[in-house]
Subunit: 220 residues, 2 copies
């Protein structure tokens, strides 16, 4: 039997992407929760360059970076596909996944930082939301084709965590008025079966966790 | 016959990655040089979100982002493979390509900007060089396995352009003493047959071009 371990943080969208892919494929795995203040020797040894989660360990070999892990899972295990089959659709899925991930720092700065960093973050995130709002018009549900997949998994930060961040920080960047298509998409995203089955089970804990992160970032 | 067009800048490492992949695969293509100060309607329409080169247009459909284009080319055309076949090696190649591309802004800031941006850029690039210097020890020639491929193409900014940037700007970040393994790798990189055949033909022009860019960034 292949031995699969996942090192992650329970509150992290990046860890959840990988859990999602493993569940879709029906891969059995051992989940190991990391402590961000005291990372395990296994994590430091498995991802010596970034020292970050998630890390997938398959047959003793570590794979790092959530979207790269998703490609690995798709190429390694049987089961429903994560990336589309057609090369052009695959390129589109990778384009949107990259677009979404290129703005992770800006999202973090917007909700979990203060001052100049936060203002710069907000600007960038609003630019990003404009693009997404346009892309998701006409009640578009999935980024590529009519099947939930790779780019939609990459969108979990915007589809799910953004709402928690807004509530935790009091920064209300998205309303039904300023980004109506994105707002509608997000509502459906959270409620679609592929996401519901995968939602972090502890929504209140998630909110409490990010509230404490916001608090820690507030000026003393 | 498939119709392939490439929109690019002659001086850009990102454009050259795509040309490289097309040449390796033996794909015939029409190269269209863009004007950075007056981008063509075809470019703006093909990459409306980023408005950047390179863009590959295949049978009328645009594909954006150099490393995504490389995956598309590898999946679409016959010929020598660009990514390794083994899923774990593919993940490693993608890891190094992402590692290299995540620092593009820092490299640009180091050599083509001034002041605080430049100092922050230098710090980041030195951190990156430390990692690369360690990775490339024991006279390692290729990032994954013993074949030139995806990650090595992503490394063209560091393998080739960095030297031009250093000469154009006078910022001598890499010497044979501070990053000896990287230095040796770079020397072999520039001289290996896969790179030599692909080197931009106009080295003096490249240097003159980036000298003018450095000049334009200098404080007035």
């Amino acid at each position: 039997m292949a031995q699969v371990k996942l090192l992650g943080f329970w509150y992290s969208p990046f860890t959840h992407r990988v859990e999602w892919a493993l569940k879709i494929k029906g891969v059995e795995y051992e989940y190991i929760e990391e402590d961000r203040n005291n990372k395990s020797p296994l994590l430091l040894q498995s991802n010596p360059i970034h020292k970050k989660t998630p890390v997938l360990i398959h047959n003793g070999k570590p794979i790092c970076e959530s979207m790269i892990i998703l490609e690995y899972i798709d190429e390694t295990f049987e089961g429903p596909s994560i990336l589309p089959k057609d090369p052009y659709d695959r390129a589109l899925a990778r384009f949107w996944a990259k677009f979404l991930d290129d703005k992770v720092a800006a999202v973090v700065n917007t909700f979990l930082r203060k001052g100049e960093e936060q203002e710069k973050g907000k600007e960038e995130v609003c630019e990003m939301l404009k693009v997404l709002d346009n892309e998701l018009k006409d009640n578009k549900k999935f980024f590529v084709g009519n099947k939930f997949g790779y780019a939609d998994m990459a969108a979990n930060l915007m589809g799910l965590w953004l709402g928690v961040f807004q509530e935790a920080s009091g920064v209300a960047l998205v309303t039904s008025e300023n980004f109506p298509n994105f707002y509608t998409w997000r509502d459906e995203y959270i409620n679609c079966s592929q996401v519901k089955d995968y939602l972090p089970p502890r929504n209140d804990e998630l909110l409490a966790f990010f509230k404490s992160r916001v608090q820690a970032a507030a000026p003393k």
